[in-house]
């Protein structure tokens, strides 16, 4: 599910970033700073990735006192598969195609 449509370059960047540490939950602002995106770009991407089953989101379970829980994000197994496919396509592109491997 959710692998049909090609990801935009920005969405692909989000997926790659999350795939670097697949077990780690990320905050939205942390992702904004690392990717250099604006909230008006990042959050629609996160919504669409979640709709396609590539991203899972949850509320922070152990928020510090005095602050409400924040939303956290990481890739689902389907999302990790998409990230691997992206990495594979980039590998092929950098080597000039499958023929060049052999």
């Amino acid at each position: 599910m959710g692998r049909g449509r090609r990801l935009s370059p920005q969405a692909a960047g989000v997926v790659r970033m999350l795939a670097d540490e697949p077990a780690r939950w990320r905050f939205g602002y942390e992702m904004l700073r690392e990717l250099g995106l604006q909230s008006g770009s990042l959050y629609p991407i996160l919504m669409r990735l979640a709709d396609r089953g590539l991203l899972e989101a949850r509320w922070e379970a152990d928020a510090p006192p005095g602050r409400p829980p924040r939303h956290l994000y990481r890739l689902t197994p389907d999302g990790l598969a998409v990230a691997a496919a992206l990495a594979g396509r980039e590998g092929l592109a950098s080597t000039g195609g499958p023929e060049a491997v052999w």
């Binding site: 905050f27 602002y29 909230s39 959050y43 629609p44 669409r48 989101a57 829980p69 924040r70 939303h71």
Partner: protein, 360 residues
């Protein structure tokens, strides 16, 4: 005088709120994003809440404002909407084009208005399609009232332009007012098509809005004719008291600040269209009546217009267009101020800022 009253009431409310909240300087971006949270379709409310809680962790005023404005953009345009259906898109394009062509056909002088109106109908329609594709719902009675009111405003404007051509001379002022009218009507249509969802429980916003808008317009026209400015003042003040009292009642029933803002804005929007329709209808009915007020006659003579009816239509049309923008702000400010002043003080240790859900 009314403007000063509004400014004073809102200032007092802000001062009271500042003393209670203690973190007023951080509120601006949060308020913008909280208001924008209402733009998110219902199935995206959790994401809106996620952005609000994330905003509260962001250091720095500039970064907070950029985040909040991005959230507003997300809610308005890009909250993961599903693709717009082709049939619906065709309908929107046909309606937008038809409205512009009709406006231009009725009066070629209004070409700026015709083009601007087509554009805003198109934008409002596309936004509505996107919301409905994502599962959003309409705005109920509020929507019907605003859409009917917007259509009536267009019809009354075109009637005036055709019947009193001297009233809209085609100069720069007419262009400015044309664009202002189109933009205001676009905003009303956007809300009417479900941009601001109907309240979860029954709310008297439509009835109160109609009463306020029509009452202010009719009292003004009557007062002008019988030279009794006191009527305008009395009805104006009474209307503001009604709005403030409504806000106070909502606050005492536990409505959140966001609910106060929403109720005030809904009431103000209905008051705006009601004022426009009542004012211009009364203007056309009384345009040929004799005038006795020397001040009004002096204003007519200095206007350069060929007849008093054209002057009256021109003047009142301009006022009505301004009312579409001014009245929602006025009613919103007074309703909110009434609610803030009537709200009980928060208990010690509990932040009055908080990050309450916008829908509590």
């Amino acid at each position: 005088m009314v403007i000063l009253l509004v400014v004073a009431a809102v200032t007092v409310a802000l001062i009271v709120r500042h003393r209670r909240a203690g973190r007023f300087h951080q509120r601006g971006a949060h308020l913008v994003l909280a208001a924008a949270a209402h733009l998110f379709p219902p199935q995206r409310r959790e994401w809106a809440q996620a952005m609000l809680t994330e905003l509260d962790t962001i250091p720095g005023s500039l970064a907070r404002w950029r985040f909040a404005l991005g959230g507003a953009w997300t809610g308005l345009v890009a909250s993961g909407r599903e693709p717009v259906p082709a049939a619906g898109l065709a309908v929107v394009l046909a309606v937008a084009g038809g409205v512009g062509v009709l406006a231009y056909a009725v009066s070629p002088v209004t070409h700026v208005f015709a083009v601007a109106l087509s554009l805003v109908v198109l934008l409002a329609g596309l936004s509505s399609l996107g919301r409905r594709a994502a599962g959003g719902t309409g705005a109920g009675l509020l929507g019907v009232t605003l859409l009917t009111g917007a259509a009536a405003c267009v019809a009354l404007t075109l009637f005036g332009v055709v019947t009193y051509p001297a009233a809209t001379a085609g100069d720069g002022t007419t262009t400015v007012f044309s664009l202002m009218l189109a933009a205001a009507l676009g905003a009303y249509m956007w809300v009417g098509l479900g941009g601001w969802p109907a309240p979860a429980r029954r709310e008297a916003t439509v009835a109160v809005g109609l009463l306020l808008g029509a009452g202010w317009a009719v009292s003004g026209v009557v007062a002008d004719r019988i030279m009794a400015i006191g009527i305008t003042v009395a009805v104006g003040v009474a209307g503001l008291v009604v709005a403030g009292t409504a806000g106070a009642r909502l606050a005492r029933r536990g409505a959140s600040e966001r609910a106060l803002v929403a109720a005030g804005l809904r009431t103000g929007l209905v008051a705006g269209v009601a004022y426009f329709v009542a004012e211009m209808s009364a203007t056309y009915i009384t345009a040929s009546w004799p005038v006795h007020d020397p001040a009004v006659l002096d204003q007519f003579r200095s206007s350069g217009l060929p007849d008093f009816a054209s002057y009256l239509v021109s003047d009142n049309l301009g006022n009505s267009i301004m009312a579409l923008v001014f009245l929602p702000a006025l009613v919103l400010g007074i309703t909110w101020a009434g609610g803030v002043l009537a709200r009980p003080r928060p208990s010690p240790g509990r932040s009055a800022l908080g990050s309450q859900s916008p829908w509590e």
